[in-house]
Amino acid sequence: MSVTVRPAANAAPARLNIRQNINALSPAQLADLRRAFKQAMGLNDKRGFEYFAGWHGVPLGWCQHHDALFLPWHRAYLYWLELALQAQVAGVTLPWWDWTTTGAIPSAYTVAQAEGEDNVLAGAAIKVFGAAPKAGWPAHTSRAPGHDIEQVPGPPYQKEWAYAMQASNYTDFSQRIWTVHDTVHVWLGGTIAQVDWAAYDPLFFAHHANIDRAWRIWQSAHPGANPPANVLGQSLQTDPAMTVRATLDVRQLGYEYAGAQSSVAGST
């Protein structure tokens, strides 16, 4: 799928990067994704995965939840991380995990070995960037789907997704989608169920790509239904910072979510 857009007025059209369902990645694309994460995990500076993981919880704690900034902040977060991954392997995009259609974590994120080595998507060491470890900090990511709190309903979350999509304004949509977002995190258990450590798990970004995709789909059905005007100019804590307004159009951020599209060669 190929889509182009003008990044600015009078600018030359640029090709968008297309995010895909994790289950739709070709073996080569999945290998590229793993390579990008692995290389980013090997960098102990502000290009590295641990630096970005630290934005969400320990040590920086920049994330926004349960308010109007939830969707914009996480869109910006994925945008910056995706660029960092693309700096390692050109063209990679963050795939989404569609927890509305499956009751299990995608195998890409669970198999222990891939391409003859440890699968970096299955988990990661937690090495907090720029901070000495404290007693009690987890050394590695963990998950315990359905076990940490057995009373948390498990996926698929089709009904919850549909309920969110029925919202007629941003505030209702945001609240409904953050509710199912919370459920996915807590159902997963382990470190990904804790704000402080969740983003050290690569699965976090597949979950959030699906949340971001939900917002994108809802936006398409509700053009102009933006976050409240009083937050549009709010600067989101990322590095570099980005305003809420700058997150509203994914095409101006250079990506789109895969849908159905086909092209044929033009005439000469």
Binding site: C63, Q64, Q151, D182, H185, S235
Partner: protein
Amino acid sequence: MQRWTSQALPLPPRSSWQRADLEFEGVEHDGASFVLHVFVNNDSADEATPRIAASGYAGYLTVFAHGDCWGDVGHCDITEPVSAFDRRPPHPLVPFNATLEVSEALDALPEGTQQVTVTTLAFNKNGDSAGVLRFSQLTLITYA
């Protein structure tokens, strides 16, 4: 598990509303993540109660919470803007409002029901019986 039952809330006549929400106001999320199962007019609901309309089951809410504070002293104290020119985002632990639509659960109550009590069962990983769900006020909102 933490169990809590509200005082009775007046329920407007069914003909006067199209949708009904329960709003848990000022929910604190500085502790462990938790899930909340909600029943209406079933003060004896417990872990074994079937989660079906006939039991007054209204639905669930899950809260992805902050967990332990790993910062220095004061790191997780909720701060207010220091001035009118403070453009920083709100503190991440500011309590929030959680909404659960309960239209179907109220529809399942006997015709003519005039008041509603709400029973919540809150579960966290630690199995705590207190301090799991902390909030300031519960409001039943109906929409014409």
